[in-house]
Symmetry: C2
Subunit: 398 residues, 2 copies
């Protein structure tokens, strides 16, 4: 039998201007525009291979080695949209194989533990949609493809681009103008790095899908956020990226994370995503910026206790002097820094920071953290020769 395959990788993105609230749940249309930084894929990525063949009897998905259902309405939306675009192509060129009528096999793997609580659905749906678009040889632009990914998982639309990405909320009822666009490519501001402090959560958080609608319907402060706070911040943050103004970018990022979590707390009953460790990290970041009398680090928290710290390469020693001092017992350092690098951070702390430091470091903070992930801004989905599907059988290789 002839089996057609295509593969791609897709990145994780971490919002600096948060998506929280849908105006249309079926189409995943947001109540406000958002902005994110796409992270490097050597640290965090989804690899997805797709195959189609006249001989396949049903759509099937293997996720991290396990057969999973494709029944979810969101996944079906994505597959239907992609098949419709393929059908349009086929109707104009009878030489094309009628893939739009064939079943799909999808095999997907993450290179990071989903246990880390890092939203993997964004990378997952972006990879799914981009891989199938590639298989179908669709001519649509990345922004057009992002609308399909958006229907799978809102934030997935931002993972279709690399670098600095905006999700424009749009105003059309059918979502035709709610899409991701590139604010700036990775190459515009390649010095942006990220340190993710994976915080151990005692309990499962409220799922973001239900959590955000709970906020929309119950928070008195939420309307102020989406109507009077975010629209101006959206323009300011885009400009801060275009101007490579880290000071402004960092303040807007920290303010927006706090604003988002404030509307969660203002929900009824309240939703809590940050815990005491998250708050200790927030205070530490402000202490670090105060110590250097300069904004060298920004924190942001998604719908969970994990902290993502953004900083510029030029300030790495200054920041890591503190972060390694506090979190050196946590795993994740050796994969990115040499013994010499780490020694340099420690000596900078001992010789330059400690003598001047006017506050105490929370010595127990590291106990609330399970691991450190050190990464940076990265590109969008990448072609790959690695294929997870056996072209002979159309099934997963492993």
């Amino acid at each position: 039998m002839s089996v057609y395959t295509a593969s791609t990788t897709a990145p994780v993105n971490i919002a600096t201007l948060k998506y929280w609230g849908k105006r249309d749940k079926t189409l995943n249309l947001p109540t406000n525009s958002s902005i994110s930084v796409t992270l490097a894929q050597d640290d965090l990525r989804t690899l997805t291979s797709v195959a189609t063949s006249k001989s396949f009897s049903e759509d099937q998905l293997w996720l991290n080695g396990k057969l999973e259902s494709l029944e979810s309405e969101r996944t079906q939306h994505c597959l239907q949209d992609l098949r419709n675009l393929r059908a349009k192509l086929e109707s104009g060129d009878s030489s094309l194989p009628p893939m739009s009528t064939w079943k799909l096999h999808i095999v997907s793997e993450n290179n990071f533990p989903t246990a880390a609580g890092l939203a993997s659905s964004a990378a997952g749906f972006a990879a799914l949609v981009v891989a199938i678009a590639k298989l179908y040889q669709l001519p649509e632009s990345a922004s057009e493809i992002s609308k399909i990914a958006r229907k799978g998982s809102g934030s997935a639309c931002r993972s279709v681009f690399g670098g600095y990405v905006a999700w424009e909320m749009g105003s059309e009822a059918d979502g035709s103008d709610s899409k991701a666009v590139e604010v700036a490519p990775q190459s515009h501001w390649p010095e942006m790095k990220a340190a993710i402090l994976v915080v151990s959560a005692a309990k499962k958080d409220t799922p973001s899908t239900s959590g955000m609608q709970h906020t929309v319907t119950t928070s008195d402060l939420f309307q102020q956020r989406i109507h009077n706070v975010v629209p101006q911040r959206f323009e300011e943050m885009k400009k801060s990226i275009q101007d490579r103004d880290f000071d402004l970018f960092a303040e807007l990022t920290m303010r927006d994370s706090n604003s988002f979590h404030a509307t969660c707390l203002d929900s009824y009953p309240p939703i809590f995503y940050m815990n005491d460790t998250s708050r200790q990290i927030v205070k530490l970041c402000h202490q670090i910026n105060e110590f250097f009398n300069k904004t060298i680090v920004a924190y942001t928290f998604d719908a969970g206790p994990n902290a993502v710290l953004y900083y510029l390469q030029e300030n790495e020693t200054k920041l890591m002097a503190f972060i390694h001092q506090v979190f050196q017992r946590n795993s994740g350092w050796e994969s990115k820094f040499s013994k010499q690098d780490l020694a340099a951070f420690d000596s900078y702390f001992a010789n330059t920071v400690a003598p001047e430091m006017a506050f105490d470091l929370d010595q127990d903070m590291h106990q609330g953290v399970s691991r450190v992930i050190l990464t940076q801004v990265g590109p969008g989905p990448q072609d790959t020769n690695e294929c997870l599907i056996d072209e002979a059988t159309g099934k997963p290789k492993n």
Copy 2:
């Protein structure tokens, strides 16, 4: 020498609609009106005796046995206002001793550890002002006196009344219409009880005086709270008290506590008063209300991690079945409940709650709590024969 003395007790009050933000720092004029419940004085009260005599050489204050300064601008405001009112009396009746020109000795004691982190300044300033007004035999109404207490500590104006109290923010620049009024006396709704869970705080919180101005100047959501949320809530909460509608009173109380803490989190840098134990208590209260499918408890948190739970006498066994189950290892139970009472709570939990309970209780929650204070709605400042000042010497007895 002839020494004139007067003594009074004054209560603590815990806001159910929060005071957070000043429009005038000198006069303690708030950015929104607030509502509170006055708590019983056998559990929490300040006893203040004042004395004046031609022979006194300086104003002096003994607070909980220690000589303290009276220099603070706020205290001086209170003393000056009271002396001005006394002088007016004297000018109309030459037979009155010219106390307005004499020095004051003030002796004040709390019956609760200030360590508990329960705002004692409200009871303290209310007692100070009421005792001197009594010494001076001022004819002014309690609301008039509350304006003077307000200048000492904003929330102190609410401790001039018992029962259910509103602080009307007023609009005059001189504060002449920013005063406390009685929403309903204790006798209107005497079944209101309060359980205070004193949460051990690792670090000192941001002082509320500086904290609230930080929120006023940096929170994007704060203006929404004071202009569009609190004014309507103020009217609804007063009505819920007049109607004895606990369900509505409780929801408004919980929503307002969350709204206040949300604006703290939205401040930049953010302010955190609630900790993980506070949040566990919030979740427990919602679980309890869900379990009974009825709102039997409301939580509220001031500028610190302590939880104050309001409930009605009729629901005491239902609520305490849970609260004693979780916090039985904490001190404070025996002073209010007999062994039989506590056994009744435990058996209600074992026989009625446990078999039906669909969630787990956080077994470690009690570790974050230092003690339980069980109290209820109470009256305003009380006359007392107990005098802390030796009339012969004009000095503290002890």
